[in-house]
């Protein structure tokens, strides 16, 4: 059986002024496959770098978002407003007593501002891309139903040109970026990068601890020792318990059931 494709009927265009549209690409499944993935559906992406639409098969509607963390991105240096903004933040007066506190506060401010800024930048680019792709899909749909006016056609080629350009820019960016050895090796996840990462992991790993004269080994023992240690450090000391007199607060000072709601 053929999996139904949403979002249009055709998957290929000869890109002529008066286009021939065809459905050449498809996904067929055996019944037993459909039983494995009963929610599978197919949709298409706009034709950008090929005259065929990419088909995407998906069994879930939304994917969970990844947790984001702050990383300085080298590409920010290329943004024209980065240096001025950064300067402004860095030079804001700061009244901490020691130089160490001052630099910490400044760094904190930098992070706070540029975390949001970086996401916005990324978000804007992505949003723009999504907007263009949606407009392309709309145009493709119109093309399926009737034909495109000259305006619409030039708009379409303009959008395609824009996307192609951003693809090319990106390729350039990656090529440039890869000129730095660390980034090249790091990004392509090579042996070099693995070695560095493994080294860091090894440094972070606790294999054994010395407690007085005894040596503690093994993950389970280490864990229970550490838990015990911190329990003693922060937990209640034995024989040192001060109970609170239940009469300490008047009845109207206490939290009642209504307050708890």
């Amino acid at each position: 059986m053929e999996l139904y494709m949403t979002g249009g009927k055709f998957t290929w265009s000869n890109n002529r002024e008066i286009p021939t549209l065809e459905k050449l690409d498809r996904i067929l499944v055996h019944k037993s496959w459909e039983q494995l993935f009963p929610t599978a559906l197919v949709y298409k992406l706009p034709r950008e770098v090929s005259d065929h639409n990419p088909l995407i098969l998906s069994t879930q509607i939304n994917t969970p978002l990844k947790k984001l963390s702050f990383r300085f991105e080298l590409a920010w240096l290329k943004e024209s407003d980065f240096i001025p903004t950064m300067q402004e933040i860095w030079e804001k007066p700061c009244y901490a007593s020691t130089p160490l506190d001052r630099i910490q506060i400044k760094l904190k401010r930098f992070e706070q501002h540029f975390k949001g800024w970086g996401f916005n930048k990324q978000g804007l680019q992505r949003k723009e891309r999504i907007n263009i792709q949606n407009e392309l899909l709309d145009l493709e749909k119109l093309e399926e139903e009737s034909y495109l006016s000259l305006d619409q056609m030039s708009r379409k080629s303009q959008l395609l040109h824009h996307l192609m350009k951003s693809n090319e820019m990106e390729e350039l960016y990656w090529a440039k970026r890869s000129q730095t050895k660390w980034l090249l090796e790091g990004d392509s996840n090579t042996e070099f990068f693995h070695r560095v990462a493994n080294g860091r992991k090894r440094r972070n790993t606790i294999i054994s601890l010395e407690a007085g004269d005894t040596i503690i080994e093994g993950d389970a023992n280490l864990l229970s020792h550490a838990t015990e240690y911190y329990k003693n450090l922060f937990g209640p000391a034995s024989g040192n318990s001060f109970p609170i007199n239940p009469e300490l607060w008047n009845s109207w000072e206490k939290v009642n059931d209504n307050d708890n709601l």
Binding site: E2, K9, F10, W12, I18, P19, T20, L21, E22, K23, L24, D25, R26, I27, L28, V29, H30, S32, W33, Q35, L36, F37, A40, L45, E48, V49, S50, D51, H52, N53, P54, L55, I56, L57, S58, T59, Q60, T63, E144, S146, Y147, M164, N167, E168, E170, E171, W174, D187, S188, N189
Partner: protein
Amino acid sequence: MKGLIWNCRGVRKTGVSSYLRNLILEHQFHFIGLQETIVGDITERMLENFDPYKHYLWKWIPARGRSGGILSGINTDKMDVGSFCEGKYMLQMDLWDKSLKKKWNFLNVYGAAQEENKDEFLAELANFCNRSQEPLLVGGDFNIIRFASEKIITLVFINTQICSTISFLLNI
């Protein structure tokens, strides 16, 4: 689970690898089937352009001259690849879905474009389908239209326009 089926018209064309890398990054496909790679051999370097972290196991059928070529990729974090089987027009991979703990087969096809080879393609397709023991998914560019509704040639439109122009002229 997600998969991509795409006739990319040449994996080495400008823009294709970054486009593909972004798609993979965004969707984290379980499986990928590309057609018309138009390259004989796929090099490590080409794969690194869109799969820098080597999440995928790639298998391919080289293009014959300037036409065809199939490239299939399986995300090995999500699925194991058992065996694979090459044909003239298709490439089958037998998969083990790690989360479902089920076997299924993925067949990536690029159908013959020339009319005279279509029977040969269909015969091979039937052969692969019959042989497959596990649930099967077939995806690709079949180069075949199943129904008249799957093709638009806007000639009809031109005719109606001519007709309406004529009827307009007649009405003056």
